[in-house]
């Protein structure tokens, strides 16, 4: 993992890799993240930089790898997945978050989005399935409950 990380840094900073930060642009060039529709959210969630520019230090990089590895427990994975899906960072998944999530999944571009009626029907169904207390949003425990029953997660 250390080797992958140091490859991302420009040559001068390689010796100092432990404390250096890699800018967001280079992280997004990694093959695993390149095709991922949630790439920006992933960088944002794992980044601990104060300036909010999405850069990752080596520890952030390790965090990211350990959460995505096969041996992470589903609790940890669902916790981070919740943070990734929460586009406005307000601690719950409301309608706007779900709408953005679905648009990310179906692809960018006008012809690949669902029609407004379909989107409405879909969000209604999701909230019906996952929202236990019927408050119109999905909080962390509801999300973890839904995800624990999903065979494909």
């Amino acid at each position: 993992a250390y080797k992958r990380f140091s490859e991302l840094l420009p040559k001068e900073e390689r010796d100092n890799a432990c404390s250096a930060r890699v800018p967001k642009g280079r992280i997004l060039a990694l093959p695993e993240l390149r095709a991922n529709p949630f790439q920006h959210r992933i960088c944002h969630v794992f980044s601990t930089s104060e300036s909010g520019d999405g850069s990752l230090s080596f520890e952030d990089f390790l965090d990211m790898l350990s959460v995505f590895s096969d041996s992470a427990t589903s609790d940890i994975k669902s916790h981070y997945a919740f943070r990734i899906f929460d586009f406005d960072d307000d601690g719950t998944l409301d309608r706007k978050d779900l709408e953005q999530l679905v648009n990310c999944l179906t692809g960018h571009g006008e012809e690949s989005r669902l029609s407004p009626a379909e989107m409405e029907q879909l969000i209604q169904n999701i909230l019906e399935e996952a929202d236990i207390d019927k408050d119109g949003t999905i909080n962390l425990s509801e999300f973890q409950h839904v995800v624990s029953r999903s065979p494909d997660f």
Binding site: E32, A35, Q121, I132, V146, R149, S150
Partner: protein, 610 residues
């Protein structure tokens, strides 16, 4: 990590040691697992396919790998217990010898069997013809049943009962296949059960867990986006469809049901047409392939064609019937998911029933007895002195033809189509486009081949080796065809449910293979002229004969187990256990419902639970 550190301070020395040792044990187990995964066949290939095309297509290739391994193990089983002792004792290696007991109480005309091997000067193409049809020089090799005409093999002082070993090896490979498939499908079954019960979870599953994080290729990502969009739209449409169905009036329902009954009648007519044509083709082929003048290439080629006629008709039926079904089902107005499932079940039925009809027509030929002499033998001894070898040859031909068709379709349809699409930019060609990689079609193809292998191994013990090589080559052919000439299916199949579906259909094929084998072993008299069961009425008769040779105590026990006094209470106990588990499952479901309601109530009124 901090939590663990603070915990450690509070634990005693013994517990600390236990925790440290369990950690290092887990690490060791992980490293062993990683090392053993390097040994897995084709690990790298399947991984790269998964990255480029997603988990649906990857499940097809891991299914293919599973079949290669299964066939290899079956081959090892049959080879070491049946073929190896025969070869060793026939050539007298390791101080061994064999005994051929002359048959008693049998009419002499039943025991005449002269396989026409190649004598004298033969043309080269005769070898090719024999290779393709299993006759000639292949008939007397260990490939077919007729070679194993040994009754007892002696290795120094040990006596090896070959007929019993042959029969038991057959049962063993069937049981092994059954257990292995069930073990693999248990995982998928558990997930399927959870998934089915919670049908209202399907949307959340798709949205939250839909993206496959293993995809690294931008093209594949685009495909995944489109497939997700398609899946969501299909599900929403299905929901709208369900609402529409619920709103139907009585008159509309009547119209739709009568339409469905009419279409089912058409389907049955199509099926009967297929079965009848296979029956006629088999009868024709059997009647006309025994008249051959060796040495004339024209009649030999025509003869080869006649011999392959059943295989060709079956392949044609397997190709046409699914097309007809997919056209018919559009008129039946079902929901999309049910449409797919019904078409698939019909295709499965067509493919597997075709093999059954072929075998049935073969048997009707074999047991057709007009004269008294023939009735004394029990089978048609003139045309089929060694009928098991003939059936083995038929299965061999089916397998070879299947293999040839797969190669031919890839070479002569896929590659030219790809060349046409890339170099010719006229409208109709572009509209046709590349062929989709239909996962279910390909899976049904290999399951069909595997069913032939299971049925044929009893008559031709080296058939699993041919099947192993065939699937090995098919893996590479399909992989090349996928990468270069096909586009992935627009309709996605989820990996977790597709694995279970493949294994269920494979299980259906295996159960269907039990039936012809059971009839051959227990019902039809074994040929008196060749094979290990010459001295017995039927192939099964070797088991009672062996049991009679056991000490009386053991005989009593075995008779007791097989009698009704044991079987009926055993069956009732099994039923009770099953009812218990069903009741348990129902109770768990009710508990889950209650807990869900409690969760809702806790939110609104936490104090009521204190």
């Amino acid at each position: 990590r901090d939590c663990q550190q603070t915990d450690i301070k509070y634990l005693s020395g013994w517990k600390q040691w236990k925790r440290a040792s369990s950690k290092s044990l887990r690490k060791f187990v992980n490293e062993v697992k990683e090392l053993s995964s390097y040994l897995k066949l084709w690990r790298h290939d399947i991984h790269s396919i998964e990255g480029k095309f997603g988990t649906g297509i990857q499940s097809y290739f891991s299914f293919l790998r599973f079949l290669v391994l299964l066939n290899f193990i079956i081959f090892i089983l049959m080879f070491s217990f049946v073929t190896l002792p025969s070869i060793i004792s026939k050539y007298g290696v390791f101080n061994s010898s064999f005994a051929k007991i002359p048959p008693k109480n049998v009419e002499p005309h039943c025991t005449v069997y002269k396989p026409s091997g190649n004598k004298g000067l033969v043309y080269f193409y005769t070898y090719l013809k024999d290779l393709l049809s299993g006759t000639g020089f292949l008939e007397m090799t260990s490939l077919f049943y007729g070679y194993y005409a040994i009754d007892d093999a002696w290795f120094s002082i040990l006596r090896y009962n070959l007929p019993l070993a042959y029969l038991l090896a057959t049962f063993a490979y069937l049981a092994l296949s059954l257990l292995w498939i069930i073990k693999r499908s248990v995982e998928g079954f558990k997930q399927n059960l959870v998934h089915d019960e919670d049908q209202f979870q399907s949307y959340c599953n798709k949205v939250f867990a839909g993206w496959d994080f293993c995809i690294t290729d931008p093209n594949a990502a685009r495909l995944k986006h489109r497939s997700l969009q398609y899946e969501l739209q299909t599900d929403l449409e299905e929901e709208r469809m369900k609402r529409k169905i619920a709103d139907r009036t009585m008159k509309e329902k009547l119209r739709i049901y009568s339409l469905r009954i009419f279409i089912n009648i058409i389907v049955i007519a199509v099926l009967s047409g297929c079965f009848y044509s296979i029956y006629r083709a088999t009868v024709f082929s059997q009647e006309n392939s025994n008249v051959s003048i060796r040495g004339d290439i024209r009649t030999d080629a025509a003869n080869l064609l006649v011999q392959y006629l059943p295989s060709m008709v079956i392949t044609l039926a397997n190709f046409i019937a699914p097309q007809i079904f997919s056209i018919l089902i559009r008129f039946e107005d079902y929901s999309p998911a049910f449409e797919i499932r019904l078409t698939l079940m019909r295709c499965v039925f067509v493919r597997l029933a075709n093999i059954g009809v072929l075998l049935f027509s073969l048997w009707s030929q074999i047991s057709y007895c007009a004269t008294d002499k023939c009735k004394a033998c029990g089978y048609n001894y003139e045309l089929y002195p060694c009928w098991e070898s003939q059936v083995g040859q038929e299965m061999y031909k089916l397998m070879i033809f299947d293999f040839i068709i797969i190669i031919a379709v890839t070479l002569f349809f896929d590659f030219p189509r790809k060349l046409l699409v890339t170099h010719c930019s006229c409208k109709p060609v572009q509209w046709c486009g590349l062929q989709e990689f239909g996962i279910s079609d390909n899976v049904l193809e290999i399951i069909y081949g595997q069913t032939i292998c299971w049925i044929g191994t009893f008559f031709s013990p080296l058939l699993p080796a041919i099947a192993t090589v065939k699937y090995f080559i098919i893996f590479y052919i399909k992989k090349i065809s996928l990468i270069h000439t096909r586009k992935p299916p627009a309709r996605p199949i989820r990996a977790s449910s597709s694995n279970f579906f493949f294994l269920v259909v494979l299980l259906i094929g295996l159960v269907l293979a039990f039936i012809p084998l059971g009839i051959s072993i227990a019902h039809i008299p074994s040929s008196k002229a060749c094979g290990p069961f010459r001295n017995y009425n039927t192939s099964w008769a070797v088991v009672p004969a062996t049991v009679l040779g056991f000490p009386t105590g053991l005989q009593q026990v075995l008779y007791g187990i097989a009698s009704e006094a044991f079987a009926v209470p055993f069956f009732m106990v099994i039923c009770l256990v099953m009812f218990y588990f069903i009741a348990l499952a129902g109770a768990h479901k009710r508990v889950v419902e209650q807990l869900r309601e409690q969760l809702v109530m806790v939110r609104f009124d936490p104090l009521s639970f204190l």
